[in-house]
Symmetry: C2
DNA sequence: GCATTAAACGGATACTTCATCCGCTTTGTG
DNA sequence: CACAAAGCGGATGAAGTATCCGTTTAATGC
């Protein structure tokens, strides 16, 4: 059996490196081909769609999110745990412009991404459940709603300055209490 | 001097009518030409860009927003006035998918739109000012921040169901209190 | 009515962007 | 070193975008 070929690994890295210098919302596969000196065919074989590339770019951030989720879940105080989880999620989504799309997409390109997302959502559910039974959040709030709210806050911060991040998060945290 | 020609008025209405049947985020000027039976040149003369068309489509909603703003500002209780203003803004933005872009755009196509937006923001500023001096909202919150938060909530609601609108608004209203 | 002309109309067409296909090249293995 | 299997490249066709200009039409003045 044949391992991953060295030229393919090199091409892949060249594409990812070039893509990291761009805004994920305006990525153009043909442009990356020109910038890297690779053929368009090569770029499209590695990443058949822009979303496949965005997902590959976001994978490191996703792993970081999983790790921070675990840490948040280990926090004894349920309300602190939830706040910590939400702050991490918001910070990472602001740092990685493609993460929101990856988190919300129902179709993951790779099993690694699917499994990592699964763990993050499971942890999130547990943290919210604990906060709920402590009476620290509104009883009717679901994980999906909170996820959407974080995406909304991300959007709001992007409309203004990154400095709005913390005040907006505080407003959300204050607002979700019973 | 020549008034607006009747054929031009008819073409304009045909385009607007056809455009209203579509999602404002996926409007295609060439498609509208085909659907209306008009030439592409005609469509592009009336609306040189998609944004020009979106703005024309949103104008009625914008007028409605201005009227509801005036009503909210007439409310004696400052906190109720602010809540009323924000609820109207959210509802209208959810009803008109192009309104957010029109409100946030710094470049308005027509003077009517510019003037209407100016009045809405002036009213909004006055309502927020009054709520602030009543101690009904956080002292450091600006009009821009609140505007962005409403856009964020709109985004969050669009990610889920319209039924999330009221709970999300409640969370925001609770969160912006001191 | 009819002539005049400014304005509007239409759609061919040039330009840009997107994604595939397939002949050629490179890599790793026996 | 031969020979698959995998990867590479870029010409190319399909799709979308927007302009230009010759033709038509509506309003106005006589």
């Amino acid at each position: 059996m044949m391992a991953i070929r060295s030229d393919a690994a090199r091409s892949r890295e060249r594409i990812l490196t070039a893509a990291r210098e761009q805004d994920s919302s305006t990525l153009r596969l043909n442009d990356l081909a020109r910038e890297t000196g690779l053929g368009v065919g090569t770029v499209y074989r590695h990443f058949p769609t822009v979303h496949a590339l965005v997902e590959a770019l976001a994978y490191d951030t996703l792993i970081r999110m999983r790790d921070l989720s675990r840490e948040a879940a280990a926090e004894p105080d349920a309300e602190v745990a939830l706040a910590s989880f939400l702050r991490s999620a918001l910070d990472l989504q602001l740092a990685d412009g493609g993460l929101q799309a990856v988190l919300l997409s129902p179709d993951d390109e790779t099993d690694d991404v699917r499994e990592t997302k699964r763990e993050i959502f499971a942890t999130f559910t547990a943290v919210l459940e604990r906060a709920r039974s402590d009476g620290a959040v509104r009883a009717d709030l679901t994980v999906e709603q909170l996820e959407h709210l974080i995406c909304g806050i991300e959007h709001a911060v992007r409309l203004g300055s990154p400095a709005d991040s913390e005040p907006f998060l505080q407003i959300m945290l204050a607002g979700i209490r019973p």
